[in-house]
């Protein structure tokens, strides 16, 4: 698998959040590392979490194990990008 740069991974995460949660591009563009996600976005219920993870797998060509899924990785935008980046670069 080719190594993906942090910028590409971050753009993919923004794209997935916009498409799955139906958020506007402007809103997602304004997310920074400290923007809270799980618990702060009403759109992000457990069904949406599953959708975000599966769509990230498709777009980044990664595989996420279900025992890796916990609230921490989705706490902030920065944590989700870091998780995706670790997966994509592994």
């Amino acid at each position: 698998m080719e190594l993906q740069t942090n910028g590409q991974v971050e753009a993919a995460v923004r794209g997935v959040l916009a498409d799955v949660l139906g958020l506007s591009t402007e809103r997602v563009e304004n997310f920074d590392a400290d923007t809270p996600l799980f618990g702060a976005l009403p759109e992000l219920d457990s069904m949406a979490v599953a959708g975000v993870l599966t769509e990230l797998e498709d777009r980044l060509g990664i595989l996420i194990e279900d025992d890796e899924v916990d609230g921490e990785m989705l706490e902030t935008f920065g944590q989700l990008v870091a998780f995706a980046h670790a997966k994509a670069g592994a």
Binding site: S46, M47, V49, G51, E55, V69
Partner: protein, 231 residues
């Protein structure tokens, strides 16, 4: 028009669209919450197909929609039988299956002139989604825990029988020898397909949004494929 069909376990509602003669498509929606997310798109596609002179049927399955059967009583064999019975009511016309996601796992019993599959998935992939969905809700467990459950399994607001889930193990979309099949996929799905359309998969959207452009593209694809099958 709201029509109905009889299957061995009862009678279910079936929405009908388009002309009463000529080719007709029978839609099999995905499972559970995904069906809710896709229904609007399916209806939009069927209306566009009517403009192409192609009839459409969108049935409820036992335990869905207006069905008198409890959701938790439904099994996948019932759905296959119901799909076969719905197709039989349309058998005086060339009937094509249009099946979406998990719906591609229930169109195998019917006598169809062809199968058009949108984002077909194996039973294993459905089970994987179920386990992930439950993990995201803080419920740990594997497939064996689901199959052996002593009460219905909650999947995004639906109470699903463990027997239904066990019936998904090893299930594959049906590619009947000698019968046309076309596979269309959406977005970043890299699995083999006859065509991949650049669009956000509506079954992933938390809030359904109308996508008339996608409905028109899918209807056009189905209409052209049926025209080529009818030769």
């Amino acid at each position: 028009m709201i029509d109905y069909y009889d299957w061995p376990g009862g009678r279910e509602a079936m929405l009908r669209f388009g002309p009463a003669q000529g080719p007709v498509v029978l839609v099999a929606l995905p499972f559970w919450e995904e069906a809710n997310r896709i229904r609007g798109l399916a209806v939009a596609v069927l209306r566009r197909l009517a403009d192409h002179g192609i009839g459409g049927a969108l049935p409820d399955w036992p335990g869905t929609g207006e069905s008198l059967i409890e959701t938790e009583q439904a099994t996948i064999i019932q759905w296959r039988n119901a799909h076969e019975a719905a197709a039989a009511t349309l058998s005086d016309r060339p009937c094509y299956g249009v099946s979406i996601r998990g719906g591609t796992l229930i169109d195998g019993f019917a006598m169809l002139s062809g199968r058009w599959h949108l984002a077909p998935m194996t039973g294993e992939a459905v089970l994987r989604d179920v386990i992930r969905l439950r993990a995201a809700a803080g419920l740990r467990g594997d497939r064996y825990g689901l199959f052996g459950a002593e009460s219905p399994v909650r999947i995004a607001g639906n109470r699903v029988s463990p027997h239904f889930l066990a019936g998904l193990a090893g299930a594959e979309p049906y590619d009947q020898p000698g019968v046309p099949r076309r596979v269309v996929r959406l977005g970043h799905d890299r699995a083999p397909a006859d065509r991949t359309i650049d669009a956000v998969p509506p079954w992933r959207r938390a809030e359904p949004q109308e996508d008339p452009e996608l409905a028109a593209i899918l209807a056009e694809d189905i209409a052209q494929w049926i025209a080529s099958c009818e030769g």
